[in-house]
Amino acid sequence: MEEKKWQAQILPLLPGYLRECLSGLPEQVAEKLEEIRLRAGQPLILQAGSEEKFAGPRGIAESPRDAYRVTVKDLHDILLVMTDFSLYARDEELRRGYLSLPGGHRAGFAGRVIGEGGEVRLLREISGIAIRIAREIKGAAEPLLPHVYCFQEKRVRHTLLVSAPQAGKTTMVRDLARLLSDGDPGRGRPGCKVGIVDERSEIAGCYRGEPQLDVGMRSDVLDGCPKALGMMMLVRSMSPQVVVTDELGRAEDARAVEEVINTGASVLATAHGQNVRELIRRPSLAYLLRNNFFERLIVLSRRQGPGTVEKVYAGEFMQKMLFTEEEPDAG
């Protein structure tokens, strides 16, 4: 059986027994694997597409009883190997609850939080690890380009991508960053200088500062930096034409978006929400929408797989909806 790319990158980080369980997976599960869930004392669970599977020593297990039971020691050993036996070196990331891994994959952690002054100081006694497999789908965002890029004015429109979690927002925004950065001069779309503020290392999947996923040849990544701070830093230091960021939501994010737009750079961002109505309930996003900062709003879902484009709203449609309570047709 041919080893998948994620297997070559993730299996060396796991203890021998878990490595065996995951190296013998059937092709169709290995191909679609999105998450590996490890919880102390619980069976090893895999999320492959929309299906949940249990894994055991002989690959896929029929029931939780036949699956491999993850031990506290497994979790401890995984954490040590993932941090290169040096927790201090990844403390900042651990405080935020995750580690970025080679290949752009991520491991999220649950455990005992040691706080100090209302902030997380340390995360210890790990009780659960979720390894999320990064999937780079080059070309996934091609259908969105005509909405995001204005060929007449040769500029990128201020765009917000909206979806529920795991519906492909980050995959789309990453691919859009790549497409805009590389450009396609043959089709009248020159490459742009793209600045990416990747607060949670999800867009570029940086590992030791180096993007592990393709975000284009003219992209500069500010990894692990708070969005609001990072957007302004990039504008001042790297003069980007497009600023890309993930998961807007806080008041300071909205202020930073406004600032960036006022400097003349375009903003390409994402936000959590099933639909526009949900967005409006969040004051900072409502402020951005009501003041018409975004020229395009794209709603994604998992209906036909992650990244299904549900609706694309143009600025005037958003306004109509916001002020009339009716959901207009997609633009």
């Binding site: 040590l80 036996f85 927790l87 201090y88």
Partner: protein, 174 residues
């Protein structure tokens, strides 16, 4: 007469060599303790300022050291850490200590302090890790001072003892 003279010469030579060996061991302990202190300071810098992961930090510290034994010790810790079946930094340090102890001139007390360096190594937050290095280094500083005093006192004593015990033996035997 010639044989007696030669015998006396060899007895004196042997006792002086033995005393010089004792002096060299006292001197080596001072040097090794100082080198360990330096190594811990360098390691603390790697952890505190550049936040380098331990395998790379040990390698870089080893490259900067001069003392053969301590350099080899840090190289061994790095090698043990990079081992596919590595059980962590604490185990890597302890394994290197067990394997290389014989190459050092350190006392039991010195090793007890050095072993404390290993406790929780790599499993602590940055500040706690640095505090631990500082505590061990302070103790090594005090041991190093003690070792220097012992060396200063012991050097003369062993030198006289070498000559005098050799002479006494020559007088007794011949």
């Amino acid at each position: 007469m010639l044989v007696k003279g030669l015998g006396a010469f060899f007895i004196l030579l042997a006792s002086m060599l033995w005393s010089n060996l004792q002096i060299a061991r006292l001197r080596a302990r001072v040097r090794q303790l100082q080198e360990f202190r330096l190594a811990l300071r360098l390691l603390a810098a790697e952890v505190g300022y550049t936040v380098t992961p331990l395998p790379r930090a040990f390698r870089q510290v080893a490259d900067m050291l001069e003392s053969r034994e301590v350099k080899e010790f840090f190289t061994a810790v790095c090698r043990n850490l990079r081992d596919a079946d590595s059980a962590g930094a604490e185990a890597a340090w302890m394994k290197a200590a067990a394997e290389q102890r014989k190459d050092f001139d350190l006392t039991e007390r010195d090793w007890a302090v050095l072993t404390r360096t290993a406790a929780g190594l790599g499993g602590l937050g940055r500040e706690d890790q640095l505090k631990q290095f500082t505590a061990v280094e302070e103790q090594l500083t005090s041991f190093s001072r003690d070792a220097e005093e012992r060396y200063a006192r012991g050097e003369k004593m062993w030198r006289y003892l070498g000559v005098l015990s050799g002479t006494a033996m020559v007088i007794l035997l011949l």
